[in-house]
């Protein structure tokens, strides 16, 4: 009797699932939930982003944002979101990541535009370029994209915790993968070139190797939510608005000056900005999480954050310290005017692990980024004169 009842319930449940699977989901609105101690197995449990039918929906009150220039991640597009518990706010800082309250949940979803006609979960993808690189004011339409992973950064009482979630082949859910993962993909560029590559989802320790601005303390921190990365307009569903102003207006950010008084990085692909501003913005977001006075790569003496001005610190005529084969047979990090002789350009254009830079987060060459850095070096005055 009992068995048959259970069987009946199971049949009903399965039937219901079948119906739901066949139609667009019509479940309760997504609501963010802060897990203070546990790491839920499913991304949707956090309630910040989740697949609802053909829509990657944002949770109630979740705010999307983007960065002026973002880290290159093998041409993946990125949807960034942030959510703060009711009644809390972050404290502004002009240079460092804002100080966020316990309970803050940040997510970053990595995805690719799919090659036209390919099914959900297809490996055949296209690069997210320019403005496509970051999008999703109202989530993402899943019919044209391939989701790969969503990284969650959650601010707990003990500090930030980084959790990688990997999307399933059906693109309906992402599950926690602390050991990381790989996705074998095939990139079709606009000019027709097709490149097979391995997209590497970082493991939790690899998350930490970038998200640790102070290597001595080893405390994790978000990288993007800094004034200089956010200080520009975002096309919210409610209209365009400066992100610092928006976050201030909704009460999530305290202490921010007017946008014009806050630092601002360039968009690396914005050809109306100076090459210097674009290149420094690019190096800032792609390198300075390690290459700073307190970062993982402080041991190299090469510091590339936006505020560095000393030429030697920026690598001008600086001999490498521990580059090994990463020198590419070149003597200096940057030789002004000579990108072909500069280790910096060589390593950005390399794909071999141990040679390429950044160390993590890419297996492909960012051709547009390399072109920018080469143009920047080519235009630098001076020379490395032997003594």
């Amino acid at each position: 009797m009992r068995r048959s009842l259970l069987a009946t319930i199971a049949a009903i449940c399965l039937g219901t699932l079948g119906v739901l699977g066949a139609r667009a989901f019509t479940r309760a609105p997504l609501a963010p939930h802060y897990f203070a101690n546990s790491n839920p197995a499913n991304l949707s449990d956090w309630g910040v982003v989740a697949a609802h039918g053909q829509h990657l929906a944002l949770g109630a009150g979740v705010v999307p944002y983007d960065l002026a220039t973002a880290l290159f991640s093998d041409y993946a597009g990125k949807l960034r979101t942030i959510w703060l518990p009711a009644g809390t706010s972050a404290t502004y800082d002009a240079t460092q990541t804002f100080d966020f309250p316990v309970g803050t949940i940040i997510s970053k979803t990595f995805y690719y535009p799919r090659v036209a006609g390919q099914p959900a979960g297809s490996a055949a993808v296209r690069p997210a370029l320019g403005a496509l690189l970051q999008s999703g004011a109202d989530g993402l339409e899943l019919s044209t994209i391939r989701l790969v992973e969503t990284r969650v950064l959650v601010r707990r009482a003990s500090g930030w915790v980084a959790l990688p979630y990997v999307w399933n082949a059906d693109q309906t859910e992402a599950t926690l993968a602390r050991v990381g993962a790989r996705a074998d993909l095939e990139l079709t560029r606009d000019d027709g070139r097709v490149t097979k590559f391995v997209y590497a989802v970082p493991n939790a320790n690899q998350c930490a190797s970038c998200h640790t601005p102070n290597h001595a303390s080893r405390a994790l921190s978000p990288i993007g939510p800094k004034a200089r990365h956010l200080n520009h307009d975002f096309a919210y569903t409610t209209g365009r608005e400066n992100q610092l102003a928006y976050l201030t207006r909704i009460g999530w950010l305290r202490g921010a000056p007017a946008p014009d008084a806050a630092p601002r990085n360039a968009r690396f692909y914005d050809t109306t900005a100076s090459v210097d501003a674009r290149a420094r913005a690019y190096l800032d977001i792609n390198c300075s999480h390690c290459h700073s006075a307190m970062g993982l790569a402080r041991t190299t003496g090469l510091h590339l954050d936006a505020n560095v001005t000393e030429p030697l610190r920026l690598g001008f005529c600086k001999p490498p310290v521990a580059a090994g084969p990463g020198t590419g047979d070149h003597n200096f990090d940057i030789v002004p005017g000579r990108p072909d002789d500069s280790i910096l350009a060589y390593r950005l254009a390399a794909t071999r692990p141990g040679v390429r830079m950044p160390e993590l987060g890419r297996n492909l060459v960012h051709e547009e980024g390399v072109a920018l850095i080469r143009a920047w070096i080519a235009g630098l005055p001076g020379a490395c004169q032997a003594e």
Partner: protein
């Protein structure tokens, strides 16, 4: 095509069944040959879940990893079942720079091999009380410029013991201790690296009872510019550095690319270095070379921080047993200098100084007594190579180095490393 999380073994059967099943499907398209990385998943999970005090044991076997592994937790021991039995092989590595990256204090790794990593085999980036013991770091193809840079690479560590390890094939240094303090490196075997053992910008180091052979340079004590701290106070003793004559296969631009093939022990720009009671033999350029940063060829007007001191000072060489060497120096200029001074069948003296001295410190043409280069190693001679004049005035000038410096005290490891035997002083076997 799918995302895989690897084929988990029974140890992790409770984790994400769906992902497991997906992971066991061999991808149809891939940029690199997929290796069986199930062992990697288990090892990585253990490292991620580690708590202070944990001993992570890795059973004997060859584990093929396609990604670097890392540890961020203090107080962990990683232990294999022997450097020839527990082997982490990174031949198929596609992700991460090092083989094993450690950011932790009170860390011990022993009885394990890390081989064929794309970058450094083991990097310990900042930490106190580090023990690296009976670890093999090897590129099994032998010398190649494309090999990873460093075999064992502790940097910015304090209280460090590296002992009984085997390093081979590093395209930079087999054992490279960078920017560290309170260091003992002993009883290691460094073979067929560009630099066998290199101590750089580090202070208070005892390097003894090591064997370094078939490297380009056997043992290096260097100070490089633009780093937070300069190094000083290193004792190199009771080592056997012989036949380090492998052509330099380091990438150009690296500090070690300036080391001439055939170097036994070389000091560059370091201070307070004592080289004694070593057996140094058959190194074809020089058994001992004392050099300045000028001799690296990397000196530029703007590329070196003002605070950097490019000169070697307070170097004390005594009681070494030299044999052979200096007979077939690297580079054309050195060959020419050897030929001119010592003829076809002659050889350089056992100790070569490049001839660069800090003009601001010279008093009557000599360095002050506490900064001097002293060689008390009869019957061996000393060559002043006259580097500033392209070796034109090179000459044997042993008498100019006849002095003595105060001997330095042995290094005492402290804290959790205090119970490791103190400096042996015993004769090398």
């Amino acid at each position: 095509m799918r995302v895989t999380t690897g084929c988990l073994t029974g140890l992790l059967a409770s984790v994400s069944l769906a992902a497991m099943l997906a992971g066991c499907d061999k991808p149809k398209q891939q940029a690199a040959a997929p290796a069986d990385t199930s062992g990697q998943t288990v090892i990585l999970q253990k490292l991620l879940d580690a708590k202070p005090g944990d001993v992570i044991t890795i059973p004997a076997g060859v584990y093929h990893l396609d990604s670097s592994i890392s540890l961020n937790v203090d107080g962990v021991t990683v232990r294999g079942e022997g450097m020839d039995k527990t082997v982490l092989d990174f031949t198929n590595q596609i992700n991460g720079s090092e083989g094993f990256a450690v950011h932790a204090s009170n860390f011990t790794i022993e009885d394990i091999a890390l081989q064929n990593s794309k970058g450094d085999a083991l990097k310990v980036n900042e930490g106190q009380n580090i023990i690296i013991r009976r670890v093999r770091a090897e590129w099994t193809n032998g010398p190649a410029t494309s090999n990873g840079a460093y075999g064992l690479y502790p940097v910015q560590t304090k209280n460090l013991l590296v002992e009984d390890c085997y390093v081979r094939g590093a395209s930079d240094a087999g054992i490279y201790v960078g920017q560290s303090q309170n260091i003992v490196v002993r009883r290691n075997h460094a073979i067929e690296n560009v630099a066998g053992i290199e101590i750089e910008n580090s202070s208070f180091a005892d390097i003894y009872d090591n064997e370094a052979t078939k490297n380009t340079g056997g043992i290096l004590v260097f100070n490089m510019p633009n780093l937070p701290v300069p190094g000083h106070s290193t004792r190199v003793f009771h080592n056997h550095a012989y036949a380090n004559n492998t052509p330099n296969f380091g990438a150009k631009g690296t500090a070690v690319s300036s080391v001439p093939a055939g170097t036994g022990v070389i000091v560059n720009a370091n201070k307070k270095v004592e080289i004694f009671d070593n057996d140094i033999a058959d190194n074809a350029t020089g058994n001992v070379i004392i050099a300045s940063y000028f001799s690296t060829g990397f000196m530029t007007k703007t590329g070196v921080a003002e605070a950097y001191d490019p000169y070697p000072e307070a170097i004390y060489i005594y009681g070494n047993h030299f044999k052979g060497g200096g007979d077939a120096p690297d580079t054309l200029k050195l060959k020419a200098a050897k030929l001119a001074l010592f003829g076809l069948t002659g050889h350089f003296p056992d100790v070569i100084w490049d001839g660069f001295a800090n003009p601001k410190k010279l008093v009557d043409g000599k360095l002050p007594a506490d900064s001097a280069i002293c060689v008390d190693n009869a019957p061996s001679d000393v060559l002043n190579a006259d580097g500033p004049n392209d070796f034109k005035g090179a000459k044997v000038d042993t008498a100019a180095f006849a002095c003595n410096l105060e001997k330095m005290a042995p290094i005492t490891l402290t804290g959790p490393l205090a119970d490791t035997p103190a400096t042996s002083g015993a004769a090398k076997s």
